[in-house]
């Protein structure tokens, strides 16, 4: 396993585009997470009356335990950045035909796919760990008092966030293997949300219960949007087994479809 991961990392670590995209991703993650409070302050200065109606310091955006879900959800928005990285990595193998040489040199098709899947796992893990660390640091800075174990409620969103990233990267990898061209794959990746939205809005009228089973919806459902709680609405602040199960099945299917495609095509 480590051997295959090292092979794929070797391809990436001397590739400038990889560092640029990774740099932008983690930079945005950190800056985005750390600057939310400043953003609120700026808004209150710009928009007259904003600060009076809602006292911004009373919104516990960065307080434990709210910060776990808040940050996990916000960071989830940035996963397109890593996904583009994954698309570039797999479609390069097709445009340069290096996948062909890898197989000739003695990788099996399964091993080739696994090397990409392991990298996806690593990227997901790195995202989760970074966001978790950012959450700990900012939480310690902004929280007025620490109230254990209450401060840890919602921490289970981190494994869910990990699955969210990994599921989406699996989707991106599968698209890349089917489409094989980077531009088209990225466009499809963006449009897939729109396509799913159109299908969903039609299904919604007949079987509203089926919505949660859609692939991209299931990925979004892992960590639900938390901010409605600040306008006194009920939100789901727990990870549900069903949401994990649905997303896990889709993740398996994405990788399995990629495997089938790779297995039966000439390279």
């Amino acid at each position: 396993m480590l051997h295959l991961l090292r092979i794929d990392l070797k391809k990436m670590t001397s590739y400038r585009t990889f560092w640029v995209i990774c740099g932008i991703y983690f930079f945005t993650l950190i800056i985005g997470a750390a600057s939310g409070m400043e953003l609120l302050r700026m808004l209150s200065r710009l928009i007259e009356g904003f600060g009076q109606e809602i006292n911004i310091d009373r919104i516990p955006l960065y307080h434990f335990p709210d910060i776990w879900q808040n940050l996990a959800w916000t960071s989830g928005l940035l996963k397109m950045g890593v996904a583009i990285m994954v698309v570039v990595s797999i479609t390069n193998e097709y445009t340069y035909r290096t996948i062909r040489q890898n197989i000739i040199d003695g990788m099996s098709r399964e091993e080739f796919l696994l090397s990409k899947v392991y990298t996806n796992l690593l990227l997901s893990l790195a995202s989760m760990v970074s966001v978790f660390l950012i959450a700990v640091v900012t939480g310690l800075i902004y929280s007025p008092e620490l109230d254990f174990p209450y401060a840890f409620t919602g921490i289970s969103f981190y494994p869910a966030y990990f699955l969210e990233i990994f599921a989406f990267l699996s989707f991106a990898l599968m698209l890349g293997i089917f489409v094989q061209r980077s531009g088209l794959t990225i466009i499809l990746l963006l449009f897939s949300y729109l396509i799913e939205l159109i299908v969903k809005s039609n299904v919604d009228n007949y079987f509203p219960g089926a919505i949660q089973f859609f692939p991209l919806e299931s990925i979004m459902n892992l960590v639900p949007m938390p901010f409605a709680r600040y306008v006194f609405q009920e939100i789901r602040d727990q990870v549900t087994i069903l949401s994990i199960a649905i997303a896990a099945v889709w993740t398996f299917l994405f990788n399995y479809f990629a495997y089938l495609k790779l297995k039966k095509s000439d390279i």
Binding site: I7, K10, N92, R97, R100, I103, S108
Partner: protein, 304 residues
């Protein structure tokens, strides 16, 4: 002799096109095996199937008597068609990556770079290499794991004449080590110089299979010129001549079996004619190749 590669009825179709049709072949240890055939005859497709990148439609093959696996491929050095590398990596990094895949010792890298004379340029990005340098890196990569079998598909494509001669020497050197080489090429005199056996494909069908040494055998051809007005008539009288053709100032005599140039020479001498020009022409592989293609006889199985 030990069988390295055995192909049984291998077939590949692309839609309606049959690229390789029911191919049977055997390659034994130590052979330098030439794969010949016009463009699109199925050489690369065959090699692609042997290296696991093209899925065969039917038929089978085995390496070293075992079913083909990715593990077996690690012991084979192969370059099909064009050199393929990561353009943004240096030659050195590309070879390091390949060594990881092939589980080859990294210590081999300087050796193979030396062999193809790329030393000094290994840290430049692959995309900055000239065509010939790319070819050389490809050959270096094929040699990386000290392979038992080497598969080269047009390895001298784009090389300068010196490069071609160098590659020929490298191939001969590797062959002298007892390694098995499968070589697809259009340079027939190169094939004749280095190969021990050859096969000819045409539109996916096997047309011929045999040792290169057999090419020169059979009827001899002699080119003669002499200061004599009726030389043509005289040559027809010679009992050893099958056909006589005039080409420019020389006559081309196709000899009957069992007759050689010295018989012709003696015949002329007895007639009081001294030849000013007398050359025995062995049939070239090129000529045989063209004949095989023209005959159009498909050979569907080989005698083992």
């Amino acid at each position: 002799m030990e069988t390295v590669l055995s192909i049984n009825g291998l077939t590949k179709t692309f839609g309606r096109l049959t690229a390789v049709n029911n191919l049977h072949l055997e390659v034994k240890r130590g052979q330098v095996f030439g794969m010949l055939g016009p463009n699109g005859s199925g050489k690369t497709t065959t090699l692609g199937m042997l290296m696991g990148v093209v899925n065969s439609t039917s038929g089978s093959f085995s390496w070293f008597g075992q079913p083909p696996t990715s593990h077996v491929r690690k012991k084979i050095g192969a370059v099909l068609e064009h050199p393929i590398f990561y353009p943004y990596l240096s030659g050195q990094k590309n070879l390091e990556l390949m060594a990881m895949i092939k589980e080859a010792p990294v210590a081999n890298i300087p050796k193979v770079l030396e062999l193809v004379e790329l030393k000094g340029r290994e840290h430049d990005k692959y995309k900055t290499y000239s065509l010939g340098m790319k070819q050389r890196l490809a050959i270096a990569s094929a040699l990386l794991n000290d392979p038992i079998v080497l598969i080269l598909d047009e390895p001298t494509n784009g090389l300068d004449p010196m490069g071609i001669a160098e590659i020929r020497e490298i191939i001969k050197k590797i062959a002298a080590d007892g390694k098995t080489i499968i070589l697809a090429s259009h340079l027939l005199d190169e094939v004749q110089k280095v190969c021990t056996h050859f096969a000819v494909l045409k539109r996916g069908n096997l047309m011929h299979y045999g040792p290169v040494d057999d090419v020169g055998k059979g009827e001899e051809m002699v080119e003669v010129a002499a200061y004599h007005d009726d030389l043509g008539v005289l040559l027809q009288e010679f009992i050893g001549s099958a056909t006589v053709k005039k080409e420019n100032n020389e006559f081309l005599v196709m000899m009957k079996e069992g007759y050689h140039s010295q018989d012709l020479n003696r015949f002329l001498f007895d007639k009081g004619i001294v030849a000013s020009h007398l050359i025995t022409k062995k049939k070239t592989l090129e000529k045989q190749f063209l004949e095989i293609l023209a005959e159009g006889q498909v050979m569907n199985s080989i005698k083992k």
